[in-house]
């Protein structure tokens, strides 16, 4: 066979690698440099600072609060959407009238930019003019308007709920794909052996869609951890930082207060955190898959 560029894997990989590397490695290097430097409010470097920026972030009480909420936020949304998406996917995998329509409706939130969804919710949650309150009053669930965004105890759960709603389409789609790859013969065989539907689910469906569960958990974890618009558009992390997660805290640190050095340090830490998180999860998932 003649040597052709098509047979040289390095040449084939090169454009993609360069493009991705350019956009990742260079900014990452910049970030590392800034995080170790003394830097003024406009990002101009003013000398080496060692780990000062990292220490400053660590000793900020708001950081620990945001870290904890990020955990609640990520775990809440990832597993919340998981718990809803599995049955939804099972239903959508059945053959019933209007299934295509139901699938389209479930996927609909995906079609809207997260920013726009968050803006719409902000409007719907408004205490006096919001249609959520008037809707709930109309069907008799509440008597007086609830000020959803006034305190973290109502705002944060609502934000997580919105997060779950916008995560469901992607998760359900992955599961649907997984379910559609399971052949009907397996269920047929199980039924002949007298297995109940629940047993069939436990013994056949769950193991076979396990890889799909894992991939959705990993990808969602990454997306949710980094998700900014929902919280920012509804409460901007307030009142009194009580709904801040790391991303919104990062934004405030960097672009409100102009502490770009600390913001860069936080960025690096967030990246490291996510990396450790994901690697651990993937390792655990792979081990349990092998068993």
């Amino acid at each position: 066979m003649t040597r052709s560029p098509v047979t040289n894997p390095y040449l084939l990989v090169l454009p993609g690698f360069l493009l991705a590397a350019f956009i990742i490695l260079w900014p990452l290097y910049q970030l590392g440099t800034i995080s170790l430097s003394e830097v003024n409010r406009f990002g101009q470097l003013r000398g080496f600072a060692g780990l000062d920026n990292y220490i400053a972030v660590f000793t900020d009480p708001d950081f620990l609060g945001a870290l904890w909420r990020t955990l609640v936020w990520t775990v809440g949304i990832v597993f919340g959407s998981l718990i809803i998406s599995v049955p939804v996917a099972l239903i959508l995998n059945e053959d019933f009238y209007g299934r295509s329509l139901a699938r389209v409706i479930v996927m609909l939130p995906w079609a809207v930019s997260l920013t726009m969804t968050a803006i719409v919710w902000r409007w719907a949650l408004n205490g006096e003019s919001g249609m959520l309150n008037s809707g709930l009053q109309a069907i008799g669930i509440i008597d007086t308007n609830i000020q959803w965004l006034a305190r973290a105890s109502t705002a944060f759960p609502v934000q997580i709920l919105i997060g779950v709603l916008v995560t469901i389409p992607f998760t359900t789609t992955i599961f649907l794909g997984g379910l559609s790859s399971i052949s009907d013969d397996l269920y047929e065989a199980a039924r002949l052996e007298g297995a109940s539907r629940w047993q069939a689910f436990r013994q056949i469906t769950l193991p076979l869609i396990r890889p799909f569960l894992n991939i959705s958990i990993v990808l969602n974890m990454i997306y949710v951890f980094n998700s900014f618009p929902i919280i920012w558009a509804t409460t901007q992390g307030g009142p009194a930082n009580s709904t801040d997660i790391l991303v919104t805290y990062l934004y405030k640190l960097g672009f409100r207060f102009g502490k770009l050095g600390e913001a860069s340090a936080l960025s690096v830490m967030m990246f490291a955190l996510l990396l450790i998180f994901t690697i651990t999860y993937v390792a655990l998932a792979m081990r349990s898959e092998r068993q």
Binding site: F42, G43, E128, I146, W148, A240, F255, G258
Partner: protein, 410 residues
């Protein structure tokens, strides 16, 4: 291969930026978007300017207020800022400290200076140099709903905070969805809404010894007053979910008896709720007769690294002619910063604006301190905590003052 590619890209980039430099007549202006009228207004100015300077190309960059500081930060850090930009005057010190804003004195003739009210020019003077020109100015006053006042049997507009509390409770008693006093509790200027009472009780944001004034009797009293208004139902419920715009919306709907805000609310009422019967009055005074309104100016600055300073100046010169100022001030609903504009009948005979202008002698501007945004945010957090009832006023304000002192001491 890789190296080669990078060098190629670098060369291309260098070429691109070089061509950008040779276009010496491009003038970039970053403007903050106050309303839907801002963008079209500046495009019009740009067109007029280009007509007078056929070789100039003015690029207007309209930026939403919420992200203006972020954009300026990234721009400057990337050395890609415009030639001129509108900024909040409270940020100016950071720009001056870092040598980013250019002094304008060498361009300013006496004639030019006379176009402004000195009180508005002052905040942009630092170390004897003028670094910005006041683009927009506003002060705050109290709007009240005359219909609600009548229904509640209130005959006089409250002149003190005690009277305000009394009136607010009466108005709140009118109905479930009616509130006496609209209290802003979230997002931009939450701290300012607290300062109105704080100043009236004789508070100072920064004491003479250079420490925060929040942990004083004035702070505790003001916070206790607001908290008691919330607890007695004299404010709208759930104040910590209401930003400025939300409270204004309540007022426009006639659901709030009194609120403190800027003159642009009058323009909105004229457009959206023309039937609302309202009045404008001074912000109530404290027990000792102290009172204070918040004065805000936004300035337009020239960047030190601008390649076209002379052209930029000519643009400013045009921008601050009476004709263009009149158009801007009327369109956005700000206070006139130029005497000639202020004398025009549409401003001079406007009863709402008169109230605002009368308050100007009491106006306080945000103190000139680096890191002001962070201090404002700490204060907002503290008052939100108090409004929510999660901490006693003294405890929350002492904590905030301590944090602020840390910043002030830097």
């Amino acid at each position: 291969m890789e190296k080669h590619w990078f060098r190629g890209a670098a060369a291309a980039a260098a070429l691109l930026s070089a061509t950008a430099l040779t276009h010496a007549q491009t003038l970039r202006v970053t403007v903050a978007e106050y309303s839907s009228k801002t963008g079209p207004y500046f495009e019009e100015v740009a067109a007029a300017f280009e007509e007078a300077h056929p070789d100039a190309d003015v690029q207007i960059e309209v930026v939403p207020w919420d992200v203006l500081l972020q954009k300026l930060t990234t721009d400057i850090s990337g050395n890609a800022n415009a030639d001129l930009s509108i900024i909040g005057t409270r940020w100016l010190i950071d720009f001056v400290d870092q040598g980013i804003a250019a002094p304008l004195d060498e361009y300013m003739t006496d004639d030019f200076k006379e176009r402004f009210f000195p009180v508005f020019l002052e905040p942009s003077v630092m170390e004897g140099q003028t670094y910005g020109l006041p683009m927009a100015a506003s002060a705050r006053a109290m709007y009240y709903n005359k219909t609600l006042f009548e229904e509640a049997g209130i005959e006089e507009v409250p002149g003190t905070w005690d009277e305000l509390a009394e009136a607010a409770e009466k108005i709140s008693a009118l109905g479930d969805d009616i509130a006496g006093f609209g209290l802003q509790g979230t997002e931009i200027e939450t701290d300012v809404y607290f300062y109105y009472a704080f100043w009236a009780f004789g508070g100072e944001l920064v004491e003479e010894d250079g420490t925060s004034g929040l942990d004083t009797e004035a702070g505790y009293d003001a916070a206790a007053l607001y908290k008691s208004l919330i607890d007695s139902g004299a404010t709208q419920p759930g104040v910590t979910s209401y930003n400025r715009e939300d409270v204004q919306n309540l007022f426009k709907q006639g659901k709030v008896g009194m609120m403190i805000t800027a003159p642009f609310l009058s323009n909105q009422i004229a457009d959206e709720a023309p039937d609302l019967d309202y009045g404008v009055a001074a912000i109530p005074a404290g027990p000792e007769g102290d009172r204070g309104t918040y004065g805000v100016t936004d300035s337009i600055i020239m960047f030190e690294n601008s390649e076209n300073k002379d052209l930029a100046w000519e643009f400013l010169d045009l921008l601050f002619t009476t004709e263009w100022r009149q158009k801007f001030t009327a369109g956005e609903g700000f206070l006139p910063v130029n005497p000639e504009v202020a004398e025009m009948p549409e401003f001079a005979d406007n009863p709402d604006l008169k109230e605002f202008t009368a308050l100007l002698p009491d106006a306080r501007f945000a103190p000139v301190i680096p890191g002001w945004e962070e201090i404002a945010s700490i204060t907002s957090d503290a008052v939100q905590t108090i409004y929510l009832g999660n901490a006693e006023p003294q405890e929350a304000l002492d904590g905030a003052a301590q944090e602020i002192n840390g910043i002030l001491g830097e």
